[in-house]
């Protein structure tokens, strides 16, 4: 067996979720190769070469891969991936964007967002907003999988010394081009990697009130998330949405403030170790999953929380 892991990065540094994906590759077994595709990303390849358990790093450094355009990346991965029994990418918006394209090019049915490895051909994955866990088996020549990062503990970032091999080939598929991006800037930890996440919902009433959560978050070194209702209402940007159709988080501590606990929201956070809910409605479904529930007006409770932590 041989596993190809697609590295997630921003051309400057390797994203932590790559380490969780390598962990899934280790659970599958066999030789692990990491593919780094980007532009001016040699430093990323060097970082990938140090990951514990990685035996080879392939580097495709070309302008065609700078913005991870799915059309270009998929052609590359489908070509490089042919010799492997498994192709893995993190289940991020990037992995979800290009990997199904790779699978179709290879004529295989991909398996999305695996949360467990039973053996090299049998995997677990959540369906129906995490209300059921399916065990699925594939007898295809290549297994194409996205990996739910929060379900696998990351491997060590250091300890390996793999060789980096430059792939000379690069091709622009010629059907898409990058126009621009607006990336949220934040000094807080990344939502999916943070040890503590504090999320606000419709109960926050407006974007300014999120300041209260930012203050608590900064004292705790936490990331701030939101429910769909808070994003739809324009309180906060889309990249903060936690849930079935947003980001999946599983921190040590998740604090839900003014969030009712719809199944779509629970799907994104119910694997957190400890859940706290602050809600003025004692019947709110969020209390059914909360380890510690506080029935209170958030406009009183959150400022007090900021003082006491």
């Amino acid at each position: 067996m041989s596993v190809l892991v697609y590295a997630e990065h921003d051309n400057a540094s390797l994203k932590g979720v790559t380490l969780n994906t390598v962990a899934a590759a280790q659970a599958i077994g066999g030789d692990i190769t990491v593919l780094v595709a980007g532009s001016g990303c040699a430093a990323v390849a060097e970082a990938a070469a140090k990951i514990a358990g990685v035996s080879k790093v392939l580097l495709a450094d070309d302008a065609a891969y700078e913005h991870q355009l799915a059309e270009n990346v998929a052609d590359l991965v489908a070509e490089v991936g042919k010799g492997y029994s498994h192709i893995l990418a993190p289940a991020t918006t990037s992995g979800k964007n290009f990997l199904p394209r790779v699978a179709a090019l290879l004529d295989v049915q991909m398996i999305s967002e695996i949360s467990g490895v039973v053996n090299a051909t049998t995997f677990q994955r959540p369906i129906y907003a995490g209300n059921a866990i399916a065990t699925v088996e594939s007898s295809q020549a290549t297994n194409v999988l996205t990996v739910r990062g929060t379900s696998f503990d990351p491997v060590a970032a250091e300890g390996g010394s793999a060789a980096v091999e430059n792939l000379g080939v690069a091709k622009d598929a010629g059907v898409s081009s990058f126009v621009g991006e607006e990336l949220a800037k934040s000094d807080r930890p990344e939502l999916t990697a943070a040890k503590i996440v504090i999320s606000g919902g419709r109960g926050m009433q407006n974007g300014d009130n999120f300041e209260m959560l930012y203050k608590v978050a900064d004292k705790l070194g936490a990331a701030v998330g939101a429910s769909r209702a808070a994003v739809d209402a324009g309180f906060v940007p889309n990249d903060m949405q936690v849930g079935q159709t947003g980001k999946i988080v599983a921190p040590q501590l998740y604090v839900a403030v003014g969030i009712s606990g719809a199944i779509q929201h629970l799907a994104g956070m119910k694997d957190s170790k400890v859940i706290v809910a602050i809600n003025k409605d004692e019947e709110a479904p969020i209390f059914q999953v909360a380890d510690y529930g506080l029935v209170a007006d958030l406009f009183e409770a959150v400022p007090e929380l900021e003082k006491l932590v």
């Binding site: 913005h67 179709a104 129906y128 399916a134 065990t135 990058f178 991006e181 199944i263 119910k270």
Partner: protein
């Protein structure tokens, strides 16, 4: 230009599904079914393109059981012009994508709009697979779509924020939650929809083999969380987090 929209029949998003006792799947007897919410957004976007004079005809396609005609009728009531149902059960995304590709070859739409994910399988694959098979560009997780001069600009919701790409037409777009707010069908439009054309096809008509490639071994309920406790005030909460849970 012609626009093709894919609409999937799924369990209504309000339903909390239960795993069947024999763990073969989920229990769907007497469960309310509906159009996948992301597909409603896809239909709405197509209808808006038609209202703007960009789209000339909207074709709604479903792959599913006979009952999926209901979801096509809903799409027709919302403004689609005609429908195609490929009757087949439990087709996996690659199979759906191959069927859609065959329909794209026949109908030659300039734009295909799908949901980003179906809320039952949660696969988030079909649009990307169709784009690959058709050799088209893809604008997934769209929060804004602008068609002009033979191309489409798509703003996409990505992990770090928003990204905008420009795709040559024909292209594939998959919808995210913020693209639009779907309208409700009016009663007169629901009546009119009954008279709009709806073709029923079989996978064989397109020469597509939809045999599943991935087998479901079993389906189990997720681990239950233990019910927790209510704390009296913020001071007790902080004390518990520090001294009992030891997470802060």
């Amino acid at each position: 230009m012609k626009v093709l929209v894919a609409v999937k029949r799924v369990v209504d998003y309000n339903v909390k599904v239960r795993v069947a006792a024999d763990h073969s799947g989920v229990d769907l007897t007497n469960v309310k079914m509906a159009m996948n919410p992301f597909c409603e957004i896809a239909v709405e976007e197509a209808v808006r393109l038609k209202e703007k004079g960009v789209a000339t005809e909207i074709i709604a396609v479903a792959v599913g059981p006979k009952e999926a005609q209901e979801q096509i009728r809903t799409a027709l009531a919302l403004g689609a012009d005609r429908g195609i149902l490929v009757e087949a059960a439990d087709v996996q995304p690659l199979g759906v994508a191959k069927l859609l590709k065959a329909i794209v070859d026949e109908e030659k739409p300039e734009l295909v709009i799908l949901g980003k994910q179906a809320i039952d399988g949660d696969n988030n694959q079909t649009g990307q697979m169709l784009a690959a098979l058709a050799g088209m560009g893809q604008g997934t997780f769209a929060s804004e779509v602008n068609v002009a001069d033979g191309s489409v600009k798509v703003t996409r919701e990505i992990d770090g924020g928003l990204q905008t790409v420009d795709l040559k037409l024909p292209a594939v777009v998959t919808t995210d939650l913020r693209l639009n707010e779907p309208r409700y069908a009016s009663l007169p439009n629901i009546m009119k929809a009954k008279k709009k054309p709806l073709d029923i096809k079989a996978p064989g008509d397109y020469g597509v083999d939809v045999t599943p490639l991935v087998k479901t071994v079993k389906v189990e309920p997720p681990a239950e969380r233990q019910a927790g406790i209510k704390v009296a005030d913020v001071a007790e909460l902080v004390d518990k987090l520090k001294n009992e849970a030891k997470v802060i």
